[in-house]
Subunit: 567 residues, 2 copies
């Protein structure tokens, strides 16, 4: 800091009584300087600006320092697995106490980082298949959880107090300048890159291939520090493929009720579907049952969701105007590329997904979220935590709530307006789908969510509830629809939940006379109230009944992963 | 569509009964084809890939078709004014019935578009200085409002059902490939560009300058179709500059209460300040009053806000770890560039702002929003609409609500947890600041918000409320703090609001014995309850008392716009 400033500050302190000079010796470029210092140390290893793959462990040992916050791309789908495998090989004497920021703990080596004492603390959004190991490491004191988030919450904090010192990302291709092509699986890469690159974090990217010219640029080279060609293409999971073979008659019935009892009367044109067989059934009924109701063009036009293969028949039948995607889906690349009127695609023809923007669209721009759940309590709180383990939140809570920062109206949103005086407002439709009993014979409707016990056992400050009951507008089971937003008061709300909870303990509390009243008042609707005969609800109504059917509908453009073809 | 697909579909229809062939003759590339067709028509006018400025009106007449949705950058701060001025000159015989998507209707020519019948429908977020003309055009039937939004809601719909056919954007520089440098005012450009570019919209960008090499790339050329050099640099307003001269003793008192009564006990480390003299006072008290309380490092470390000049003393005194910005602020560029440890800056050294990501950070990543308002009712609903006109929402509602999609905990957030059984959760601190009476002698606390009448008069489906009372945790006036989240039930909540509403009609309803009880229970706190003597609250406590002081604190790095220097 130069003399002139110091002198000016001193004068100011004299004249205003303000403290001055407290930062006299402070440098304001410590982060930038440190980044330059670290990058200079690996400079000799670069060949034509690219880091040779065999140098990656050395480079990580040089670029990551003890105590660093490291963002590892661990997205919902794609995985920077060359970087995570390499990171797990660094010398813990050199790199330790790392604070890992990761959307999805989904690969074994993510936890090897903790077993080898390279990382110690973690902030994450989803642990899925690794959740048992997370619990074990937590108990053994080898892993400390900062907090458990939804995806976008974790990114939000990357722009506040959890800015990454180093980001380990992945893309399909890079050119020799370091420009990146993410291809259809853009997902979270631009967001994490932005958080790191603009706060002097070091951005390291693995690519499948280095080319002279990119099909398009998804992320500019100005944001990228190190590019390395991976030993093999990045790992990515087909998480959004549901084989129609596994959709049963009960799911067809529920889907019919949703279309006739919710989508039609509320005029739902823009929406987000969670992933599950229930919602897949709805997608597959649009071109058949939906068509027979004359609803084409009136409902389900604009979507925010991954490219679900089960949406193909509705797209081919002309139901779908647009789909904006959080990520991509393995096998759907060619189909998406051939349907640019529907999907967001780039000048090169392939999908551009973007989780943060799709979450924004799903939160503020659509009128309905619908998703399946595994447990619901009498107040319609729900959770997918049922196996005594901590799986995390993913993205559903951001879609499955009434966004209180919304100020624009729409037809569907206004239908949930309850007149509470001059300051009233509409609501988002948040629909929870569930069968009253799960396959194993366990009731779905319970007095207390397993999440309460799991949260307490894991030392979480609050129970890991996925969707809160007071955000839920509708619960739909094979028994019927509960229009919770129409209920007056807590007790009536509970009676409406009970009325569709079948013979579960919650359902057995329903009083027949109250249920009859709720049906009269349109708060509860059973299939017969909607003019749906249970006998009609057959798998044969599905527009596609197998993965093969989906491939046929797509004209061979959809190429399912082997595991789905072998069934 | 080729024979093989048609034949496959036919087979499927036979076997599944699914309707097939309904889209037999359908092209799936209509949008892309139309874009190519329009761009080909202006191809002959391009010189070395750049559109000469004198051709801009011709180009807009060619690239925009009647009925198109056109996104015009009209941000909160920067304006694509060369493009908007040129757009207003097109022949309405050629271009009419345009549906305008614009964040901020802030320039006269934005409405000339409607007067000249070029545009007819508009979706917008803020109309500020042009709001009277908007109301007039609405009454005359020359303008139709789709809806009024917050900024991010409008962008959300650009990824759903309001994808732009054409986007008119602005940047500082472009290179000859079409890569863009937005400089410190990135704001909304990448978001709107992404919405248009990846759904076959035509992206037209005005730049101040075309250069051989950019300082950094903010948006890749792959997303941009037409670059034109503007006749003069884009317009941008210094909206976040508050001259400390206008901060009075009452605002100092309120600011002291906020620091001692909220920031300290709740442990508020991450936050967003609205723009106003009240919050400027807080910023200017941190290095003086805050320091005397020993709070440095304990509160107010991580910020999401534009680079407020009044934050300079706190930054210089070492209070601030990070600031992520929605946009920039005129005159702050050099200061920000010299403080890269604090601000998000690029490899070129200048600020990278991003409204959508800062909104994400402010919604999910920080624990407190505080903002001034002009009117509050007895339930703590508030609005800045008080002059009988429709100004819109801007960004405050997205910050000023409890984000129900949040799942991670923090110390401050958990302090608002009310034990309501096993499914309880924390809350965001949402603080509304107001003086009980406005300058003109009008009460701030009213029985019914003016917004209710304005909404009804303008035919809005619901009243344009800025912040809803049930989201507000605290109301602070010169009288004291109402901790609304601690109140039990609606009536007690109202009593707490009344207790700080002074001698307004609402305040006069306060019952002394109830107020005394609320103070005992810590639900209401008056200055004396916090150990603050009203006589202490003097302007002399401000770390800077003029724009000149701010310049001095910055060591001359802050260069205020002329209008502030002349005062």
């Amino acid at each position: 800091m130069n003399q002139r400033i110091e002198s000016a500050k001193h004068d100011l302190a004299q004249s205003t009584g303000a403290p001055a000079g407290s930062s006299a010796a402070r440098s304001w470029t410590t982060k930038r300087d440190e980044k330059r210092r670290r990058l200079a140390a690996i400079e000799p290893w670069l060949e034509d600006g690219i880091l040779p793959a065999h140098r990656i462990v050395d480079a990580l040992e040089t670029l990551i320092r003890p105590g660093d916050r490291v963002a590892l791309e661990g997205d919902n789908q794609k995985q920077a697995d060359f970087l995570s495998r390499s990171f797990a090989k660094v010398d813990p004497q050199k790199v330790h106490d790392v604070h890992l920021l990761i959307s999805s703990i989904s690969r074994p080596e993510h936890l090897t980082l903790f077993e080898r004492n390279i990382a110690h603390k973690v902030d994450f959004a989803f642990a899925g298949p690794q959740s048992l190991r997370v619990a074990q490491l937590l108990e053994d004191g080898q892993l400390e959880i900062g907090a458990i988030y939804t995806y976008v919450e974790l990114y939000a904090r990357m722009f506040v107090d959890l800015t990454p010192n180093v980001a380990l990302l992945c893309a399909e291709k890079a050119d020799r300048h370091g420009n990146l092509y993410t291809g259809p699986n853009t997902e979270d890469t631009p967001t994490i890159a932005e958080a790191a690159a603009f706060r002097h974090g070091i951005v390291i990217v693995q690519v499948n291939e280095i080319v002279d010219e990119l099909p398009r640029v998804d992320i500019p080279a100005s944001w990228i520090d190190v590019v390395v060609e991976a030993d093999r293409p990045f790992a990515v999971e087909p998480l959004f493929t549901r084989d129609p073979r596994h959709i049963g008659d009960l799911q067809v019935l529920t889907a019919m009720m949703v279309i006739k009892g919710i989508y039609e009367p509320y005029g739902v044109t823009s929406l987000n579907h969670g992933i599950g067989f229930d919602t897949a059934a709805i997608e597959l009924l649009l071109p058949t049952y939906g068509e027979s109701l004359g609803l084409k063009g009136k409902i389900c036009r604009n979507w925010t969701l991954n490219p679900h293969p089960t949406l193909i028949p509705a797209i081919e039948s002309g139901w779908v105007e647009s789909v904006h995607c959080f990520g991509s889906e393995v096998g759907m690349e060619g189909y998406v590329e051939a349907r640019p009127d529907v999907f967001f695609t780039g000048s090169d023809g392939t999908l551009r997904s973007n989780r943060v923007l799709c979450q924004l669209a799903g939160q503020y721009g659509v009128d309905l979220f619908i998703g399946s759940t595994l447990q619901i309590d009498g107040d319609a709180n729900s959770s997918t935590v049922t196996r005594g383990r901590l799986a995390g939140f993913g993205g559903a809570p951001n879609m499955g709530h009434d966004p209180r920062g919304r100020r624009h109206s729409s037809e569907a949103w206004l239908k949930l307006l309850k007149d509470e005086g001059p300051v009233s407002r509409g609501k988002k439709l948040v629909v929870q789908l569930a069968e009253t009993y799960k396959k194993g014979g366990e009731p779905t409707f319970v007095d207390e969510l397993d999440a309460v016990a799991v949260g307490a056992k894991s030392g979480m400050p609050i129970a890991p509830v996925m969707i809160y009951g007071d955000d839920v507008s509708h619960v739909v089971t094979e028994e019927g629809i509960a229009h919770l937003h129409k209920a007056e008061g807590v007790e009536e709300r509970r009676a409406a939940v009970a009325a569709v909870a079948g013979v579960t303990p919650i359902g057995l509390r329903a009083k027949p006379e109250k249920t009859a009243e709720l049906r009269r008042r349109g708060i509860v609707a059973y299939p017969e109230d909607l003019g749906i005969r249970r006998g009609e609800a057959k798998r044969s109504l599905l527009a596609a009944r197998s993965i093969d059917d989906l491939v046929t509908w797509s004209g061979g453009l959809y190429t399912p992963p082997a595991r789905f073809r072998s069934w």
